[in-house]
């Protein structure tokens, strides 16, 4: 349902398993299995409902519908859909989590964007005015978009 149109992105299908370092300069949709690391600076990554990923991810935006075991570093937006099972730390500028998504890890929302190198320490300023969306209730299966804008300080 949420798979993007083919042609606009690279696609790793259900039956494909990859081990190693994955990098590129186009959007990527993973519905198969990936073990290693994923480097898509400036591009979007979607882990489809059948996707099984064990990797640290560096991308512009990350959407998880399947299973992810690894850290996410997204310079813009991270989305955990209701079927997502995610274990790992998230560093992102914006984050939305749908009802029903399972998440275990540390969340670091960064106001001024996320640097692509994870080495930098987050600022210790209070009230960074992050953007975290509250997704709709699990019952409303069709409504996938975030419905509540967070209040800003």
């Amino acid at each position: 349902m949420d798979a993007p149109k083919t042609g606009d992105f690279a696609h790793i299908g259900k039956s494909v398993a990859i081990k190693g370092e994955l990098s590129g300069s186009e959007d990527l949709y993973i519905d198969g299995q990936v073990d290693g690391s994923i480097e898509l600076s400036g591009n979007n990554l979607t882990i489809g409902p059948n996707g099984r990923v064990r990797a640290n991810i560096n991308a512009k935006s990350v959407t998880v519908q399947g299973k992810l075991d690894g850290n996410i570093r997204a310079t813009e937006h991270t989305q955990l859909r209701k079927s997502a099972v995610t274990v790992g730390d998230i560093t992102s500028q914006r984050l939305s989590i749908e009802d029903g998504a399972y998440y275990k890890g540390k969340i670091d929302i960064q106001k001024d964007g996320v640097k692509s190198e994870p080495a930098s320490k987050p600022e210790a300023k209070p009230a960074p005015a992050p953007v975290v969306h509250v997704a709709p209730a699990a019952e409303s299966t069709e409504n996938k978009t975030p419905v509540m804008e967070p209040k800003r300080n």
Binding site: Y103, G105, D108, P126, V134, A135
Partner: protein
């Protein structure tokens, strides 16, 4: 006379505890005022970034509440984690049990004195007996000295079918409670313990005050708040 008592009842219903009028339909969310959360919220107002561990089901509200205030939040759903079939073992009598050592090697793996606040919500009442003490022992060590832990415990009036809720922070002392529904079969590894009311978790036991004090005996102080919805809120400080 009747109008006076009606007014009083309305006052009580609105002043504390869950709003029962919303409780009718199954799966509906309730709101409740939380004195314990209100106490903890004072520290969230500080300029010092805090490290917070939320042990309930993942809540976007809670993440937003913390990150808006510049605090770091860690999320870990211990009840879901306790249903991992790999934890199933047999005890000396051959009865099904959970491997608490393995549970603690996979979960709550944090440095000592790492967190300023731990939000346990109601997990102790719904967690397997064999995990309760080890989990709270681990939580003691992950809390900083002076760190706070908030936990909810049912009173015996609650009844065995009390639904397990997921807690969303709405405001400094206001919570929204959403009944937990399973995303798949949530049968515990030791048997039918987690097949339950509405597909959620089943109340495992009711702690009395002495049990609670024993559970938190290593902590520096303990404070009880009795709510009107058969729940005691307990705020402990390491």
């Amino acid at each position: 006379m009747a109008s006076v008592s009606d007014s009083l009842m309305r006052f009580f219903r609105s002043s504390s505890g869950a709003k029962e009028d919303a409780a009718g339909a199954k799966g509906q969310r309730l709101t409740r005022r939380s004195s314990g959360m209100g106490e903890i919220a004072r520290s969230f107002a500080s300029d010092t970034p805090l490290c917070v561990l939320d042990l309930g089901s993942t809540s976007p509200n809670n993440i937003r509440y913390m990150t808006e205030r510049g605090h770091k939040i860690y999320s870990e759903d211990l009840l879901i984690a306790s249903t991992d079939p790999a934890l199933a073992i047999k005890d000396e009598q051959g009865n099904p049990a959970l491997d608490s050592k393995r549970f603690l090697s996979d979960n709550l793996v944090y440095p000592n004195a790492h967190f300023d606040v731990v939000l346990c919500w109601n997990i102790a009442d719904y967690m397997e007996e064999s995990l309760v003490k080890p989990v709270f022992g681990r939580l003691w060590s992950t809390l900083k000295p002076g760190g706070m832990l908030l936990a909810f415990f049912h009173t015996k009036e609650a009844g065995p079918d009390s639904p397990c809720y997921r807690f969303h922070i709405l405001g400094n002392d206001m919570l929204e409670m959403q009944p937990i529904e399973s995303r798949a079969v949530r049968k515990g590894p030791t048997g039918a313990v987690h097949t339950a009311v509405g597909g959620g978790f089943r109340l495992q036991r009711v702690f009395n005050n002495r049990h609670i004090e024993t559970l938190f005996r290593d902590f520096g102080s303990i404070k009880f708040f009795l709510a009107r919805d058969n729940v005691r809120e307990v705020l402990v400080i390491r």
